[in-house]
Symmetry: C2
Subunit: 405 residues, 2 copies
Amino acid sequence: MRKMSPFKLLISREKALEIVLSSVKPMDKKEKILLEEASGRVLAEDIVANENVPPFDRAAMDGYAVKAEDTYGASNFNPKTLKLTAVLHAGESTGTPVNKGECIRIATGCPVPPGANAVVMVEFTEENEGKVSIYKPVAPGANIAHKGEDIKKGETVLKNGDFLTPAKIGALAAVGRREVLVYQKPRVAVIPTGTEVREVGSELKEGQIYDVNSYTLTSILSENGALVTRSRIIPDSFEHLKSAVKQFLGHDLIVFSGGSSVGEKDLLVKIIEETGKIFFHGVQIKPGKPTLFGLVQGKPVFGMPGYPTSCLSNAYIFLVPAVRKIARLPPKNPRTVKAKMAKRMVSASGREQFLTVKLINGQAHPVFKQSGDITSMAEADGYIILPVNLDVIEEGEEVTITLFE
Amino acid sequence: MRKMSPFKLLISREKALEIVLSSVKPMDKKEKILLEEASGRVLAEDIVANENVPPFDRAAMDGYAVKAEDTYGASNFNPKTLKLTAVLHAGESTGTPVNKGECIRIATGCPVPPGANAVVMVEFTEENEGKVSIYKPVAPGANIAHKGEDIKKGETVLKNGDFLTPAKIGALAAVGRREVLVYQKPRVAVIPTGTEVREVGSELKEGQIYDVNSYTLTSILSENGALVTRSRIIPDSFEHLKSAVKQFLGHDLIVFSGGSSVGEKDLLVKIIEETGKIFFHGVQIKPGKPTLFGLVQGKPVFGMPGYPTSCLSNAYIFLVPAVRKIARLPPKNPRTVKAKMAKRMVSASGREQFLTVKLINGQAHPVFKQSGDITSMAEADGYIILPVNLDVIEEGEEVTITLFE
């Protein structure tokens, strides 16, 4: 007969997170992808510009390319008149120089013709039968975007490790990169366990429930840069669980969910102890105590609580920072808001409490039901973490809510 | 000869955004997708629970199913002793009732056997040769998760329009939904234009530059729920642009980028006026003035500035709210931080200014170069918007920075 042993060493959330973050390693596997797929990825090379951007001096405005000195003294009452010698539409260029007393009509983006050193905006001109009246003087360089002004040839535009935002995607396009080297997304195996757990969509028999955790975990992990493999549901037996660990060791992170009971968690503890090392097993937080973490052949393995709420709340607390570190993504930094408690709450003694709340008229209403209840998170706008040493939080007290977004 | 006409009626950013948001319509096309693909999507049906969750009274803890009254008066010094009549491992259930003076060992999640009305946690018990000592009394209902406690049969769990977060995905799994009806993602056509613009990866000839905007726009639109079709580059001619509008009218939103010059913009203005209606053409913001918006056969059409920075900054200002409204996504609400200006800045007169800044040691350093310079955004952490009537912002003045995230 299997002995049931209660959890022994609970560690604090901070300590647990510290252990997790110091145990997981950022990806070093790379892959080459097309620029249009690179948004939200992490660059795995320095990007050095092969050419200047812009590659030539160009008009920054629609107007007339001139010698600046020809415009000095121009005013509304005393315009300077120049001879129009050519017209450049968008995409056109010319070798015809602008000589003293001359100008060339130029569209934004066209190369500035030789001899010109400024562009007069069209707004300050009037064109009539080959003559252009200039109503405002310009300084040399005016309305010209100079060659290399944006990016100089040889300059390092982006660095290995940069997170590719829309603007950084733009910088890659500007230097003409069709393909880029990025870090591979971490491959994460999500393994639902539980003899009583059934695949969503199947018929439930007496005592059975649907697998919720593999869906919530896949959702939150994918949102945070992981490439998730959702395993079939593994029965709670030593052999099945052990072969699942072995099957998914090629992944960068293995996440078991389920095994909510002490006995089931013990199985996973034994398997990890046999093949690797357990770092913690039991965290001082409610809900979410039965969470374990270890390494097997250098691969991080999580055992998440079986209860949907505990599983997901600890996913926010531990899995998100872990997978983002592995993926080399910047920390999540979710938004927080301050609000007053809508009612008095008695806190869990001896453990931190992860309390989900709904914001109604700027007040924080607890929606925590039982740790098994997924609706306590589905209906919430965010959560507060009540400290270990807090017994009671009074109605009207100010709390900081971390938003689910 | 084409006449160059300057921009005439500039409208304010607020007014422009108001027009855009009142002109675009939320998607009504729906599609059925698998639960594992539903994360981040918007529900297009009410979800009513067909069954209770949990579907039966179950043990919320590992322990012993008992009649609560059999435990009354139990203490460390005066334990109550019950007869163990059965053992339920995870996934097991029994029809054997718990009679007075008896108990059944039960794993978390197992159905509570008939006759039992509470579970004593294993921590407060000792089992020895078929007898279980109970060291702590429990009240009726203790450590039992009741049938329907999370979700009641017939209850509306989620509503049409709900944004599917990981927790809401969990609620769908809990009620056994394998497939869900969601709103289709808006199909957005991104059409780069410009005779001088070349596809990234090709060889540049004199006067040519790479297409940057279709990449930045695809990136930001995809991040905000759009399914983007990136068109080939369209030359600046009336016929080409007109046939592009026609080609993409099946999309939910059409975004032209390029046509930075007045003349080129005029082409698009003419086409939209001919086939639909222009709402504005020219916004009181720097950079980003040459932005136009109209409707063609009820389909919203944007003409974004050709300069990469202006194009992307106006994408943050106008396109993101527009596409999120069409996609029925919640507003973006980017994070803001306060910082002091690292140096004095002279602002654009008569227009709001979108000023990109980098945060260094908590100070806001402007990185704005020219509106054509993509690096002024790629290197920035966020932006500030300087009001129309502001001439100068002094060093040390506090500003609110909207972060690019």
